[in-house]
Assembly symmetry: C2
Homo-oligomer: 363 residues x 2
DNA sequence: CTGAAAGCGCTTACAG
DNA sequence: CTGAAAGCGCTTACAG
């Protein structure tokens, strides 16, 4: 398809009757070249279909012009199904509900990648994406490190010490988590989001104690959200309590079943959507009307939260924004290698839906 | 953070007391180096924290080791919200339903990127992702072309002539579409999928004519699906007809309202999920029981199809697989530049759900 | 098995 | 405004 060897600066220079230095200048600093020369070179570039070799450019320019993004690897089938020559080969599947136990909810990574991509190209860089499923993390990391000017790593994708080591050979920013003294970081304001949501719930809820469905003890997100809940609830004098629910539907469901043996809550605040949806189901099974008798809220904004009845009021992370900020932080770090690590907290959005009494087109 | 200049082959060679050629050999063709030497070099590499410079490697090796993936650009907010120093800054939004008019349904690109990423790294390549939102398509394309050994382009991301021109300077594969004589392509078997689905519907449906809700006339997907429907329905002698519905909920809804003035259908087959969901709603409004009196099916497998009542039987594209196949096709093309363009059709999955009478855990 | 040397295709001071 | 030349950090025949 592309037959002969691609043209180089030398070919263009010869074609235009100038030196290779001039060709390079026309491409990088056109204002330093006389207009007539510039035009001539441009014509040659076009006629020969010249495309600069990025490797040579990077080597000579001491910068790759590439940013890397490392995201956690999902399992990708190695073989996969074979393509068909026989059209019409179709598989019929009984579609069960594959649980979204994933802390990174629906479209999280698409948004993250798109955000990072946009900010990266906008700055004239290209974006390399790696999940490191198929190969060992170390190998991918080493490979990436040599290819990029900076690396954004999604938190918990790599063990802390690997992050630290990588940060020694390349500017690195941690996404959705932090290692305070080691690298820059960009995360979402889980604490502030839960606090704001809780304050709102306390205002709109019907009478009755407030119940918080806590997440698993080892999750940083869960910890930050619980702090936010406490921030808000401690400033009031209403009754409240917490119950463990470990981010699962069942956990939320069971916590409510248990709680309904004593007092019915006036509000249930889930540490995530899954547990809130479980709680919602348990309340409805027990004949508690939501939101009239009890308000329910979640956190994450998974797709399922939109389709529950009533639709679930929840908090959405600004994931695209997170990608943008990560790339920008990296670019800043590349420009100023010396400065102290920075740590950003992005504000979240509360999505008001029917489960907290908000009126809504659909619900 | 990374203070002094990174070590090079020269540093490693000196440290290990060998030539740079030997260092290079240890890294690329270790079997050609004596074990003792190899160990010595490895130790030096480790001690110095040496990471090979990918640009130099690419330039010398005449191959970048990078594959590019170009996907259509969504609109990404340029400014975005500012990060806060004040935690707790939260926005409250009345959450309306943003319609998924997108032909590339939920998670389509996440799956595509992940598939491509997996296959790419598995082969020892890295993956560059570009959406080319922020910058002009031409610029991104030119930049990409110089950076990669091969380029996968999602169909309709670029005008045909740009694809053709790009294909002259780099191996290129078209994803989810084809330009038969120009490049390799990988797509989904829309026709075969719709045909298989239709045959199944004809088997399970209650009495009554079959109605096909066609897509917009300018969509290649719609055209292929309609051919598949015809393939299946022409082989039987039941009554059938088609109605235009242009891929929208409203289109599907109105087509049914219109149709119900005469005969009630025994099956409604939508060219996509949106129109099928509209049809489902219209049937239910008219008191037609689904699936008992009329079976309904869609195509695409958007998230919403899972949460309708009854849940919608639909066809899911093997999107991850599509990404894998695209990367693999590219790698094959790189290995064999001369051969004729290949065109793959990937088999789809039918997701059996309650709207066609399939029993299901949830519905 | 190992080394000296050429070369990959650019960029960028340095002169003029 | 333009050119000659050095150099970016590797890989890879070619000799030995």
């Amino acid at each position: 398809m592309q037959p002969r060897k691609s043209p180089t600066v030398y070919d263009v220079a010869e074609h235009a009757g100038v030196s290779i230095a001039t060709v390079s200048r026309v491409l990088r600093t056109p204002e330093k070249v006389a207009e007539a020369t510039r035009d001539r070179v441009h014509r040659s570039v076009h006629e020969l279909g010249y495309v600069p070799n990025a490797s040579a450019r990077s080597l000579a320019g001491r910068s790759t012009g590439v940013l890397g993004l490392l995201i956690p690897g999902h399992d990708i089938p190695s073989g996969g199904r074979r393509p068909t020559d026989a059209p019409g080969s179709v598989e019929f599947l009984d579609d069960h509900d594959d649980s979204h136990a994933d802390p990174f909810h629906d479209r999280y990574f698409e948004r993250l990648v798109r955000g990072a991509e946009a900010a990266t190209w906008r700055a004239g860089y290209a974006l390399l994406v790696a999940a490191g499923t198929s190969v060992s993390r170390e190998m991918v990391l080493r490979d990436l490190t040599g290819r990029v000017d900076g690396l954004a790593v999604v938190s918990r994708t790599l063990p802390d010490d690997l992050v630290r080591r990588a940060a020694r050979s390349v500017p690195l920013v941690l996404v959705a988590g932090a290692q305070p003294d080691v690298t820059d970081s960009v995360q979402v304001d889980n604490r502030g989001g839960m606090s704001a949501l809780t304050r709102y719930v306390l205002e709109v809820k019907p009478p009755g104690p407030t119940l918080y469905l806590a997440g698993p003890p080892d999750s940083p997100d869960a910890a930050a959200r619980e702090l936010g809940f406490h921030d808000a609830v401690r400033a009031t004098d209403g009754a409240w309590s917490t119950a463990p629910a470990d981010f699962t539907w069942q956990g939320g469901h069971d916590a409510i079943v248990d709680r309904l043996r004593s007092t019915a809550p006036g509000a249930v605040i889930g540490a995530n959507d899954q547990s809130a949806l479980g709680a919602l189901a348990a309340l409805q099974e027990a004949g508690v009307r939501v939101p009239e008798e009890c308000v329910v809220t979640g956190f994450d904004g998974i797709d399922e939260s939109r389709y529950s009845r009533p639709a679930l009021t929840t908090v959405r992370q600004p994931t695209t924004e997170l990608g943008i900020r990560a790339a920008e932080a990296l670019l800043r770090r590349i420009a100023h290698p010396g400065s102290a690590p920075t740590h950003q907290q992005l504000p979240v959005d509360v999505l008001l839906r029917a489960s907290s009494g908000a009126r809504n087109r659909r619900a």
